[in-house]
């Protein structure tokens, strides 16, 4: 960072063009990361607040009054409307701002140019605008927490008509308007980013970097961007139609309703239409979140096992298969909306098909570990965690994809457990892994590995501690988004006892897990300033980013952009002296590529 003067072609930058309105992909990536960390901290705090209510319902708690004050936690007891607001904003921030903007935004930005051998993104300006739209949408979303009627409270899926009628719930007032505006801006950011990633990957690869020599990270970011470009616009239209229903009296999503005592004239629309539009994005969104995490860990698992990733082409194939299938499975969120059962059957079929490429990925990961020589960096630990959560969360998806079984567990905690494990944990583990692994590339310093290990084990144990019991709570028939479960006491006390016991366990682990993240936050920010200075290729990795100097410079490489001669996974290749061989090393005579 400090070495700008040393390179002649590097024009002078002011503080503002370097740190704020930067068009350099590395700086933009870091901006995405830091913003996402701040958003994640907020979302985690929100979740701890509602977990306190769920674990100890109705008990006065000073943490609640500390954060929420007398308005939303009178006498330290969480307000029911605010409970829904917390749940909604927690989900929204985590899914969109942390795991979409934070994960794709950070790593696509930092790694795409560096790993394909490009000087920067195709358009630095669009890239900068993408970040600033993300920033603005984050601010709007956070601001919505502080308005008088409270934030949006219809769940992160904002199903109408609840989200359309202000009279139906306080959160559907200006809180919902802000939510919709924020999401519109966010999608703008995501689209600009994605277009940029696609163009960069397709057009700006260095000499020799064939598509079949791309690291799996790049494949994952590339396909993720394609999914985003194809699905996010549908959500924009859904959101804009909802704004019209709310403000202009149209009736896309509403039909023959009476809210409060008011007979509404809006007629002829369908709430189910919104569900279709929402999940047309909503399901691909799961893979927008997941694929980058899988890409990052493919790279990390291979590097730290000192082995090529097993089945490179099969891995690419399964990314493509998952991406394609993700567009034709959205109906599995809607089995019990009264949709035609035949259509439901079709969605059962397509959904369960996704299990095949997912299984291929898991077995390929495991085979990569087999007879490896594994180094446990924090990044590697989190990658193992990802594979475990991907398995554990993935198989419960089999239950939920089966429409007949979904009837019994739809909208219960079983669903909450499923998607948190498979999507939330996997993606966040992937993100942590990525941060630990590429931190030296981002900041030129190392994060403390001991703290990283402590962070990992606390996170792994508490994450499963939170979400594993939730399966039981859900199978036991506890609906999600309930403020408390006292209703069970009156009709089935056996169930009530189990739900309450486990809710306490879950809440305790949630608090431990949240505190554990302090270690990461501290390690991260401390290391940016004071971490041990990094060497150029600390993990002895093959990919191109490690051939760039530690100091960041515009254009990434001081001289020529390196030429690529081989795939990125030549680890422990027989006949090699070292157990790695960078992509820039030419093939020896008679050497097979792979």
């Amino acid at each position: 960072m400090a070495a700008t003067a040393a390179h002649g072609h590097h024009h002078k930058e002011s503080f503002i063009t370097k740190y704020i309105f930067s068009q350099d992909h590395k700086m933009i990536g870091k901006q995405f990361l830091v913003t996402a960390i701040i958003m994640a901290v907020v979302a985690v705090i929100l979740s701890v607040l509602f977990r306190i209510q769920l674990g100890w319902p109705g008990e006065s708690d000073s943490t609640l009054s500390f954060f929420l004050g007398d308005k939303w936690a009178p006498n330290g007891i969480l307000d029911r409307g605010m409970y829904l607001g917390l749940v909604t904003i927690h989900g929204t921030i985590m899914v969109f701002f942390v795991l979409t903007g934070g994960l794709s935004g950070t790593f696509s930005n930092i790694l795409i140019p560096l790993q394909i051998g490009a000087r920067d993104m195709a358009s630095g300006l669009l890239n900068m605008i993408s970040y600033w739209l993300f920033f603005i949408s984050s601010c709007i979303m956070l601001y919505s927490l502080f308005i008088e009627t409270g934030p949006a409270g219809a769940g992160w899926t904002i199903y109408p008509p609840l989200s359309v009628y202000e009279q139906a719930t306080p959160g559907s007032g200006s809180g919902m308007t802000l939510w919709l505006v924020s999401m519109t801006v966010f999608i703008g950011s995501s689209l600009l980013g994605s277009l940029n990633y696609i163009v960069t990957v397709l057009n700006m690869r260095t000499k020799g970097m064939k598509m079949t020599r791309l690291p799996l990270t790049i494949w994952a970011f590339f396909i993720t961007a394609v999914i985003g470009v194809l699905s996010f616009p549908v959500l924009v239209s859904a959101v804009v139609l909802m704004l019209m229903d709310r403000g202009l009296g149209t009736s896309f999503y509403v039909n023959d309703a009476i809210v409060g005592a008011e007979v509404l004239e809006q007629s002829g629309g369908s709430p189910i239409l919104f569900e279709h539009l929402f999940w047309f994005l909503g399901h691909p969104e799961v893979y927008i979140v997941l694929l980058p995490a899988l890409g990052l860990t493919s790279e990390i698992v291979s590097t730290n096992s000192r082995k090529p990733i097993f089945g490179y082409r099969a891995m690419i194939g399964s990314i493509l298969a998952i991406a394609f299938l993700s567009f034709i499975v959205w109906g599995h969120h809607m089995f019990i909306t009264g949709m035609n059962p035949f259509l439901g059957g079709v969605f059962v079929f397509t959904t369960l098909l996704i299990a095949i490429p997912s299984a291929v990925k898991v077995f390929n990961y495991i085979t990569t570990l087999w007879k490896g020589n594994i180094r446990y960096t924090p990044a590697m630990l989190f990658s193992i965690g990802l594979v475990s959560s991907f398995i554990t969360g993935g198989i419960t998806g089999i239950i939920l994809a089966d429409s007949a079984l979904d009837i019994a567990v739809h909208d219960t905690y079983f669903v909450v457990a499923h998607f948190h494990v498979v999507m939330g944990l996997s993606a966040i583990f992937g993100m942590f892994a990525g941060v630990y692994h590429w931190f030296p590339k981002m900041y030129g310093r190392m994060m403390n590995s001991k703290l990283g290990m402590v962070h990992f084990w606390i996170t792994l144990v508490s994450a499963y501690g939170v979400f594993f019991p939730m399966h039981f709570v859900g199978i036991g028939g506890a609906p999600r988004r309930y403020y408390d479960y006292s209703v069970y006491e009156s009709f089935d006390s056996n169930q009530f006892d189990m739900i309450m016991d486990l809710n306490v366990v879950i809440s305790i682990f949630a608090i431990i897990g949240a505190l554990g993240q302090v270690i990461f936050i501290f390690n991260f920010f401390y290391s940016t300033r004071r971490g041990q200075v990094s060497v150029q290729n600390p993990w002895k990795s093959n990919t191109l980013e490690w051939t760039a100097p530690v100091e960041h410079l515009h254009g990434n490489w001081p001289g020529e952009v390196p030429t690529v001669h081989r795939w990125p996974y030549d680890y422990s290749k027989p006949g090699m002296e070292e157990d790695f061989c960078p992509q820039t090393v030419p093939l020896k005579e008679g050497e097979e590529e792979h």
Binding site: A257, K307, P341, L352, A359, L381, I395, I407, Y526
Partner: protein
């Protein structure tokens, strides 16, 4: 406020203290020539060992929870199709548990076994078509079984109800449920949201209800016009926005009235007749054991979802749309109380789609009894409801046509 300040100060001091400790660590590792990227063998082994410890803990806690809460899960399905669903669950659990234990087991075991050793070199093994074939085909075969069994059950569960099925409507609104029984004719009277008012909470279409609603709307329009007139003459003052609202309300109710009048011309006695013997209950949904039911769902305001955990049944309730499901209870409440060993056990209908602040409190007890029990409950329930109705200054004469044809004492609503 003071409390918050203290908390903040403590946090700041803690951060400073940790940062100082880190400085010490940093200096000492610099002295030792320690490099962050080199994970020493001992640390690496500790992590590898912890993989196995975690695995044991993970599987152990899973088995422990199954042992402790296995029985705490929902009791045996209390509906005919619920038994099929439970059977399908069992089949799927076998597959899910097998995959869970085997893959997680292998993952953590490999993570432990192949941890770094300086003397070993990793095995270069980039791909193997045969292996990849195996783990494409095996999951595909397992999934084929799951899909076929799943779709068979699904088709059964969602198939048409038989002609003997008794029709009951469940009407959802923030934050309660109303059950409407279709009575002797097993036909629900039509319903329209424009007719909903205090006397007719479900908007049931009868001639009486239509006339009453038209009167009510006329009254409402007259009231609003009176207010506007008062506004013109300067007796009251309201904001321009409210004035506009009044005008808008008059126009809107006028349009709604027109539509109701259309309805009146379109419908005849044959339609009104269907509603004549319907009756409602807000206190419970009473079902007869071994009787098949066709449940029809409507919603007044926002989405709700009718969730019967013990019957393994669930269906969304959508404003402006009718959804339905079929269900046949197979155990009475009493039998279920014996089965669960809980004398206070009750079936319940919960709302399972977020519908507003009191979502968690929206439920309706469900009772399953024999036919005699049901008749006893019905006469009781119907009588009590009737008292409420007769309190209203009802103009019985307007309903002459209905009364002439249907003198059923069970006529309560509509």
């Amino acid at each position: 406020m003071g409390m918050k300040l203290i908390v903040l100060v403590v946090i700041v001091l803690a951060v400073i203290a940790v940062a100082q400790l880190m400085r010490v660590y940093e200096l000492s590792s610099k002295l030792r020539g320690y490099k962050e990227e080199d994970i020493d063998l001992k640390t690496n082994n500790i992590n590898a060992g912890l993989m196995m410890v975690f695995l044991a803990f993970f599987f152990g806690s899973m088995l422990y929870m199954l042992f402790v809460y296995g029985n705490g899960m929902l009791p045996e399905a209390a509906s005919e199709h619920g038994k099929d669903i439970d059977w399908l669950f069992d089949v799927n659990w076998v597959i899910v548990f097998a995959v869970f234990f085997i893959t997680n087991g292998i993952l953590f075991y490999f993570a432990y076994k192949y941890s770094y050793h300086p003397d070993r070199k990793a095995f270069y093994f980039p791909h193997d078509n045969k292996l990849e074939m195996i783990w494409t085909i095996v999951p595909a075969a397992a999934l084929a079984v799951i899909i076929v069994l799943g779709l068979m059950t699904w088709n059964q569960v969602t198939g048409k109800a038989s002609d003997d099925a008794v029709v009951i409507e469940l009407y959802a609104k923030q934050f309660d449920w109303t059950a409407r029984y279709s009575g002797e004719d097993n036909k629900l009277g039509h319903a329209d949201y424009k007719l909903v008012n205090g006397d007719n909470p479900l908007g049931v279409v009868t001639e009486e209800n239509i006339l009453k609603r038209i009167d009510e709307i006329d009254q409402l329009i007259a009231d609003n016009e009176q207010q506007l007139a008062a506004l013109d003459s300067g007796t009251i003052i309201v904001s321009k926005a409210n004035e506009y609202k009044l005008q808008h309300e008059i126009e809107k109710m006028g349009r709604i009235k027109q539509r109701i009048i259309h309805m009146q011309t379109a419908f005849g006695d044959s339609v009104y007749q269907m509603a004549a013997d319907d009756y409602i209950s807000k206190t419970a949904l009473y079902l007869i054991k071994d009787q098949e039911y066709q449940l029809v769902f409507r919603a007044k305001d926002v989405l709700h979802s009718a969730y019967f955990p013990h019957f393994r049944a669930q269906m969304n309730c959508v404003p402006g749309m009718r959804t339905h499901l079929k269900m046949k209870p197979i155990f009475t409440t009493k039998e279920m109380q014996e089965k669960t060993g809980n004398p206070e056990f009750q079936y319940i209908l919960l709302c399972n789609k977020i519908c507003g602040v009191s979502h968690y409190n929206m439920n309706l007890p469900v009772i399953v009894g024999t036919e005699e029990d049901f008749e006893a409950w019905k006469s009781n329930e119907v009588n009590t409801t009737k008292v409420v109705v007769s309190e209203e200054p009802e103009s019985e004469t307007s309903d002459e046509t209905n009364d002439a044809m249907e003198t059923d004492s069970t006529q309560v609503e509509g």
